[in-house]
């Protein structure tokens, strides 16, 4: 099952290809526009096809991720999904206060991270040992902040506030906060040996 590393790698490849195409297109245009040629514009059909392609690309991305990125259907259908276990955290005075530490999460089970802020707006991010992000949500005071997630690889993850809450909150980190076990596969970037990169 795809995780954030897979999805972001795909993004890196696809977006880089797109950037090369866009730069080449403008480069080609810049060369051609200085040369003599026909003053005729494209047929309306070309324009409307182009608009159609943009609509398909713009909205198609969301259909694609709904079907390929595992956390999207969980997010959208979570009212109907059963929670295996809930983990509670309180954010206060620029500190992450867990109810239990670390939490041991079973592989492939839907767990919920329930976070309450008692003062400012924070963020709740789960990170691997190489600092890449697994997932995140905002933590807003007076609001519901609970994220359902399903892990598919063994590893030890740390929690970091992903939202700015003033200079004091620039490095709000809870080390070794989540330990996932029971999976067939290890998350190589989240294994504890050698510590954080």
């Amino acid at each position: 099952m795809a995780d954030s590393i897979d999805v972001l790698f795909t993004l890196k490849v696809v977006y880089t290809i797109y950037v090369i195409i866009a730069i080449s297109l403008i480069g080609w245009f810049a060369t051609r526009v200085t040369r003599a040629g026909s003053a005729k514009g494209p047929k309306p059909a070309i324009f409307y096809t182009y608009i159609g392609v943009l609509v398909v690309l713009g909205t198609g991305l969301h259909f694609l991720t709904y079907n390929l990125v595992p956390w999207v259907p969980i997010d959208l259908n979570r009212d109907k999904l059963e929670t295996h276990k809930m983990y509670h955290y309180t954010f206060k005075d620029h500190k992450i206060i867990p109810k239990e530490h670390p939490v041991y999460v079973e592989c492939g089970k839907k767990v919920v991270f329930d976070v309450v802020s008692e003062d400012l707006t924070y963020g709740f991010g789960i990170f691997r040992q190489n600092n890449s992000m697994v997932t995140q949500m905002q933590v807003v005071p007076g609001s519901r902040n609970d994220l359902m997630w399903e892990f598919h690889k063994n590893g030890t993850y740390y929690i970091r506030s992903t939202e700015y809450s003033g200079p004091k909150g620039a490095q709000m980190i809870l080390e070794d906060a989540i330990v996932v076990r029971g999976c067939d596969e290890d998350d190589h970037h989240a294994m504890k040996e050698g510590g954080r990169g």
Partner: protein, 542 residues
């Protein structure tokens, strides 16, 4: 001619400011201050870039974030707003072939925005006020981290900027609609309908199309200005709210934790901010592209009715798009996330795509064109948005937002490429286009320097966005501190690219100063000799 003489007098006689109309001077005043603020924003950006590589000893963490707070405000309001306002106040009068409604109001407008930006900047510099531009509730009123006086100074500065914005908005619409003395009565209702795009929309359903009363760029300026006015109302309201809490603190009344729902506030605030980010920026940019394409090609715009309709759609999109900033807020309803956050946002790809297509075709039909500064910077600007808009659409997806929100991807690949490459290169194109018109024919000092400026800025802008984006994809957050060199390779490369942008700006500034001369530059701020509200001197018009 010696270097010093040229520096003082300018190239080939430089700028003869005594020949300039008041409106030409006002436009130049806006632009010059806008460029100086751009330099400041650029310097702040470089300080932060350097800090991200290795914390600088003379900037502590608190001050680092106060730089981060004022940097976008100086860049957007002090620089982009100023340059755009100066150009548009002139263009509305110039394109409508009508005197500007009020010279006094235009002067007051640049003074309040320039002054307001300075005051707001001082709140960061002197008092280290650092709630960032997002002002997430209740951070701006957190008196344990910030001083109340810093907050008050900040809000006073922002109010100054907003007053200047209101004055600009009023002056623009009044100039479009009013009847100058001695003129035949102007059809203000029809002009307003045309400016807002209602006529264009109705034309879609009419067999016999009605003629547009205002030129297309004026329609773009009008529609963007509506968003600008609405945004000023929202930001001013947030400012007043914060001010109430600050004054309360000064007088010993602790209001923190009362009244305000943080999520509702965030919704309203982002609704207002997106009127800039997803509204007037895209609308103004599209309008500027159309105008530049028409000037450069000397031809009418291709598919003008579609362009007008797209501008109207973009305005409606900008009113309904804010939720893509709240896709990681679990309290936000999924319906809003999907409809406003994903679907409406996706239409920005369409509206911006239309602007790219129409501009490029308009230029292409006029082949062969000379690769002038105006054209090359315009193409750079188009490329910037071609790269940045899809990046924005990608992060406005429920799946991608979970792993990209608040990372360097958002601020690098999307925001900085949009602003530095897309917007700024478009503005440079507009500056090169307007330069001879506003200066009554002053000559550019060096084409070679203009070319170096172009390439350094383009490569630096795209490169910086790319390396920040790569760091973001590897998990680097945008508003956090890393002290163990976790992302140093990316940050060093981004720093080198940032330096290229800054050097490009210094070269550009030098080129412009050498073109108009110090005397000409100072002369811009002296009262005009010619007493008229017309955009150009009488002999130029005839």
């Amino acid at each position: 001619m010696s270097f010093m003489q040229k520096l003082m007098e300018g190239h080939e006689g430089g700028l003869r400011h005594e020949t300039m109309t008041p409106l030409q001077k006002i436009a130049m005043r806006f632009v010059v201050i806008g460029l100086l603020y751009y330099g400041l924003a650029s310097l702040e950006g470089m300080l932060m870039r350097a800090w991200e590589i290795k914390p600088l000893p003379f900037i502590d963490e608190t001050h680092f974030f106060s730089i981060m707070t004022v940097h976008p405000m100086v860049g957007i309001f002090g620089s982009s707003y100023m340059i755009v306002f100066g150009a548009f106040l002139f263009l509305v009068s110039y394109l409508m072939k009508k005197p500007i409604y009020s010279i006094k109001m235009a002067n007051l407008s640049w003074m309040t925005i320039a002054g307001g930006t300075l005051i707001m900047w001082l709140a960061g510099f002197l008092f280290s006020y650092a709630p960032l531009y997002t002002l997430y509730w209740p951070l701006p009123v957190d008196m344990e981290q910030f001083s109340a006086i810093g907050g008050i100074v900040y809000i006073v500065g922002v109010v100054g900027i907003m007053i200047g914005t209101f004055l600009f908005t009023y002056n623009v619409f009044k100039t479009i609609l009013y009847t100058p003395e001695g003129w035949e009565k102007q059809p203000s209702g029809d002009l307003l309908k045309s400016a807002l795009g209602l006529e264009g929309l109705l034309n879609f359903f009419r067999r016999e199309k009605k003629e547009h009363l205002v030129p297309l760029p004026i329609a773009a300026i009008s529609r963007g200005t509506i968003d600008m006015g609405l945004n000023a109302i929202v930001i001013s309201s947030a400012g007043v709210l914060i001010l109430i809490y600050m004054v309360g603190t000064v007088f010993g009344a602790e209001l923190k934790g009362t009244w305000v729902d943080a999520l509702l506030y965030k919704n309203i605030f982002w609704w207002g901010l997106d009127l800039i980010a997803d509204g007037l920026v895209l609308i103004f940019v599209a309008g500027t592209w159309y105008l530049l394409a028409m000037i450069i090609s000397g031809k009418d715009l291709f598919m003008q009715n579609i362009a007008r309709a797209a501008l109207f759609v973009e305005m409606v999109v900008s009113w309904t798009v804010w939720s893509h900033h709240l896709m990681s807020d679990q309290g936000q309803s999924n319906t809003l996330k999907v409809l406003s956050g994903e679907v409406v946002t996706a239409f920005e790809l369409v509206t911006q795509g239309i602007a790219v297509f129409i501009t490029l075709v308009t230029l292409y039909r006029a082949r062969p064109l000379k690769m002038t500064n105006e054209l090359k910077f315009l193409l750079g600007g188009i490329l910037g948005f071609m790269l940045a808009v899809p990046a924005g659409i990608i992060q406005a997806d429920l799946g991608m937002n979970r792993i990209l929100h608040n990372t360097q991807w958002v601020i690098g690949t999307h925001v900085h490429v949009a602003i530095l490459v897309g917007l700024t290169m478009t503005l440079y194109s507009a500056i090169y286009t307007l330069f001879p018109i506003l200066t009554n024919g002053a000559k550019l000092y060096s084409q070679k320097l203009a070319d170096i400026h172009f390439w350094l800025h383009l490569i630096g802008g795209i490169g910086m966005g790319a390396f920040m984006g790569m760091a973001g994809m590897d998990g680097m957050l945008r508003r956090a501190i890393y002290t163990n060199g976790e992302y140093n390779t990316y940050m060093i490369l981004a720093g080198i690219c940032g330096m290229m942008i800054m050097v490009a700006f210094v070269i550009f500034l030098y080129n412009i100063i050498m073109s108009i001369g110090i005397k000409g530059l100072i002369g811009i701020y002296k009262p005009a000799v010619i007493d008229t509200r017309e955009p150009l001197p009488a002999e130029k018009e005839s």
